[in-house]
């Protein structure tokens, strides 16, 4: 194999490691916001997912149970967000931020309480690898297409789009706005939880207290950059992952660790996110009712 082909293949492998957690979380963001609920709590939901996936996998010795636990943990925290923002019409941004803060401290506490560690959990059983990558990686490859298909071809997708654009119109057409939104938010949490599980039991094989290290916010950015579409968001995630791959190889090439410049390199993908969001401003359009609470008797 020629050196160039080898380099490209390595890059592809690295991409298939870095992109899936982002893709899953970003799809979660798309699902929630398409239905009209801002989900800034993706980061926290990923964190819950990552921790509970690892904890259950370690406890039972079965990574598949860990996977289920990760999705459930994300979905449960999302159900709280749904309850606050839909039932009680709390501000969706504040509710999401609160969720992130709760996840930050609660998981840190649980890590110490259960595993007696402030840094990392013990090694967890890992999901089996298919073609050298975790099963979740391949899920992240298929899911954007599936979600695109759901949005464009199914009655459910049509209703989700309608509810996110003009909930009252959907309600007068007989669609149950709040139920559908709750379903989307909870599904969003399950996806973010799976994204978190990918980090812990898919890639690293243990939980790290720093997880997900801002990837939930990156996913949010990818969702916006991808114009609230599954395929666009997935493409944006691949792009961000590519930036991460480049960052790592640059960091190695320039011996950043020796020069104490590691932090600077680590910031590169995030700085790129900022740049892209600034450049894409004005050309993207959120679902019209995104973040607007729905009041059935509103006048």
């Amino acid at each position: 194999m020629s050196p160039l082909a080898q380099t490209l293949l390595d890059a592809l492998h690295a991409l298939l490691e870095f992109a899936p957690p982002l893709v899953l979380a970003a799809l979660g963001g798309v699902l929630s916001e398409k239905s009209g609920v801002v989900n800034i709590g993706l980061e926290g939901m990923m964190r819950f997912g990552a921790f509970f996936a690892a904890a259950v996998a370690i406890g039972t010795g079965n990574p598949w149970l860990g996977l289920v636990a990760g999705a459930l943990a994300g979905a449960t925290s999302a159900a709280l967000h749904a309850l606050l923002s839909l039932r009680y019409r709390a501000d969706q941004v504040v509710s999401g931020i609160a969720l992130n803060l709760v996840a930050m401290s609660l998981v840190t506490f649980l890590l110490e309480a259960i595993f007696g560690s402030a840094g990392v959990s013990p090694p967890s059983p890992q999901l089996p690898r298919i073609f050298g990558h975790s099963a979740l990686t391949w899920l992240a490859v298929v899911l954007p297409l599936a979600m695109h298909w759901i949005f464009t071809r199914t009655a459910l997708g049509l209703r989700i789009r309608a509810v996110g654009e003009h909930p009252r119109a959907a309600a007068t057409a007989g669609v149950s706005v709040l139920k559908l939104r709750a379903l989307c938010v909870i599904g969003s949490g399950a996806l973010a939880g799976l994204g978190g599980a990918t980090l812990s039991i898919g890639i690293l094989g243990q939980f790290d207290v720093r997880m997900p290290a801002g990837q939930g916010f990156m996913a949010l950015a990818a969702m916006i950059f991808g114009k609230w579409t599954p395929l666009g968001a997935a493409a944006a995630c691949v792009f961000f992952a590519l930036a991460e791959v480049v960052q790592r190889s640059l960091s190695l090439t320039f011996h950043a660790a020796d020069l104490h410049l590691e932090g600077l390199f680590l910031a590169l993908p995030y700085a790129l996110t900022l740049l892209l969001l600034a450049l894409s401003r004005g050309r993207t359009r959120a679902p019209a009712a995104d973040g607007v609470p729905y009041d059935p008797e509103g006048r």
Binding site: R153, T154, A155, L156, L158, R159, R161, A162, E165, H166, R168, A169, A170, A171, T172, A173, G174, V175, A288, P296, E297, R299
Partner: protein, 573 residues
């Protein structure tokens, strides 16, 4: 239609209160199959609330709704839809980015057979076909694949009607359907409504326009302050009798004085010579017009030359528009919706960029840092604006009435003192304005968003037309969605501003409104002025101009002016 036949829709003893205030008080109504029942009343009379209860969006505090004799569960829109009740709302319930057919089938999507059904797959071909068929049968022209937001207002309304028909509506409720239509579009709609009734559907037709109601309805019901005050066969009543029922006999006799009382401070000095037509006169005819000789000879207040701009989607909106407007005149802008009216108003108020020349008393607004480059500069030069969309452009719904009134003047006496708000001064001035423009409730601390549409418009008029610097008034659809009462007040305020020496530009889709208000009418077609007419120009003259046929209009204007005028008079009677 007699009451004895089985009713398609029946409301019995409906009561609805909002925070203790009764919006609807013991109303019973029924519509029979094949019957058109018109429901009229002022803003806030309870028409919309009644509709929301009928279709299950609101729960009533008492009373029941029956379809074909069967009781409908309260607060369940899907049950009302299933029973065959269809509502076309005043604010359309269309999801903008979805296509026409998607909007129509939303919530009841035809599924594919077999495995597809289990997956919830929409049978797109069947859905498109059914929607197209349904439109064709009802004689409604529509492109089923167009996104709803790309359609004209009239076409969106057709989509709403198709939506209800496709869902098998046996009773259709149309909430002020003609408020947003031009007169030819409204005629078309009235024909459609008669056609729907002829097929055996019951129709409830809500409107402010009495003549239209008498043309389309079999029976008329009048609501006033939440109560049903009159029902009559359309053939056995008159516009005058209906107007009296709507306004209330006592209110109506007081109307003339009330209109006189609309006194923006500056106009107060000219009140003596201001025309003060009664509400009924405004409804039916045109107010006396003071043509001011001196003003017509003076230099124009506003000159627009070769204005070119694009709309929100980047398509050409104004394509070389030329216009002159003198102080002390009202220029009406007529035209089919979407021919540049919105953009013209936005350009004149500094809300939209534009190329060309725009002179206000000789000062070019389109020069770098010119007045039309910035809404604040435009306002400082005395350009005031009554926009069509008051919720979005004119008012902050969550702020109080006094706060809304101060917007734009918030740095000036008596609203402010130095860098602080002058609370006492603001309260006093707000009370003055609320009283002068008869805004109800006249509570300076009420929230603007809680007012009815008519009172919101009066609030905007109070702020804009009381501006002492007002030299150019831009009013877009000033009476859209307003009842007679509010319309006549807003109209009087506009004529008062004109008589006090402002140049007034009124954009409206309602030719009768323009005829009642304007001194001259300019017809816009595809971003240019297709023609200038006298205010008494007939439909035969204005119609072809609105469709861009200038030569036909000119011929009619020359040869048939007398005849056209006669027609206009006839149509008014």
């Amino acid at each position: 239609m007699s009451e004895s036949t089985q009713s398609a829709l029946e409301l019995r003893g409906i009561v609805k209160r909002f925070g203790g205030v009764a919006a609807v008080e013991d109303v019973s109504l029924a519509v029979a199959p094949g019957e058109v029942l018109a429901l009229i009343g002022e803003n806030g009379a309870g028409k919309s609330t009644l509709i929301q209860i009928a279709c299950g969006l609101y729960r009533s505090d008492a009373g029941e709704v029956r379809m074909n004799g069967a009781l409908l569960p309260a607060g369940e829109p899907s049950a009302a839809i299933a029973a065959g009740l269809g509502v076309v709302y005043q604010h359309f319930m269309l999801v903008g980015p979805l296509t026409v057919w998607e909007n129509v089938v939303l919530g009841r999507e035809p599924r594919r057979r077999g495995v597809g059904a289990a997956l919830g797959l929409v049978d797109r071909d069947r859905a498109r076909g059914e929607v197209a068929d349904c439109a064709k049968r009802a004689g409604l022209a529509i492109d089923v694949d167009a996104p709803a937001e790309s359609l004209s207002v009239a076409a969106q309304q057709r989509v709403e009607i198709i939506k209800q028909l496709w869902r098998g509506a046996r009773v259709l409720i149309l909430d002020e359907p003609t408020a947003v239509l031009s007169s030819s579009e409204a005629d078309e709609l009235l024909r459609t409504v008669r056609g729907l009734a002829a097929e055996g559907r019951g129709v409830i037709f809500i409107s402010h326009k009495l003549r239209e109601v008498l043309r389309v309805a079999d029976r008329v019901a009048v609501l006033r302050r939440g109560r049903l005050v009159m029902t009559a066969q359309a053939t056995e009543t008159t516009a005058e009798a209906l107007a009296e029922a709507v306004l209330g006999a006592a209110a109506r006799s007081a109307e003339g004085k009330a209109v006189l009382g609309v006194a923006p401070t500056r106009a107060a000095t000219t009140d003596a010579r201001a025309p003060s037509p009664g509400a009924a006169a405004e409804l039916i005819g045109r107010p006396p017009n003071l043509l001011q000789e001196a003003d017509t000879k003076s230099a124009p207040r506003l000159v627009a030359r070769d204005l070119v701009c694009t709309d929100n989607r980047g398509r050409p909106a104004l394509r070389g528009l030329n216009l002159e407007l003198r102080a002390g005149e009202i220029l009406g802008i007529a035209g089919v919706d979407g021919n540049g009216q919105t953009e013209l108003a936005e350009v004149l108020t500094g809300l939209r960029n534009c190329a060309g020349a725009l002179l206000l008393d000789g000062e070019d607004g389109l020069a770098p840092h010119g007045w039309a480059r910035d809404p604040a500069l435009a306002r400082a030069r005395g350009v005031v604006h009554l926009p069509a969309d008051r919720h979005r452009l004119a008012l902050c719904g969550l702020l109080s009435l006094e706060e809304n009134l101060s917007l734009g003047h918030q740095r000036e006496e008596p609203w402010a003192h130095g860098m602080f708000i002058d609370r006492a001064g603001r309260r006093a001035r707000a009370n003055e304005l609320l009283a002068a423009f008869d805004v109800r409730p006249a509570d300076p601390l009420a929230r603007a968003g809680d007012l009815s549409g008519g009172n919101q418009q009066k609030l905007v008029a109070a702020r804009e037309l009381s501006d002492l610097r007002a030299r150019l008034v831009i009013a877009v659809q000033p009476s859209r969605g307003l009842d007679f009462h509010a319309t006549s007040r807003v109209h009087s305020a506009l004529t008062a501003a004109r008589d006090a020496g402002a140049a007034v530009l009124v954009v409206s889709l309602d030719l009768d409104e323009l005829r009642a208000l304007a001194d001259r009418i300019a017809v816009l077609y595809e971003g240019r002025v297709a023609g200038l007419c006298a205010p008494d120009a007939s439909d035969a003259v204005l119609g072809p101009l609105m469709l861009g046929n200038t030569s036909a209009a000119a011929t009619i204007a020359q040869t048939g002016a007398q005849q056209g005028r006669a027609q206009t008079e006839a149509s008014r009677g």
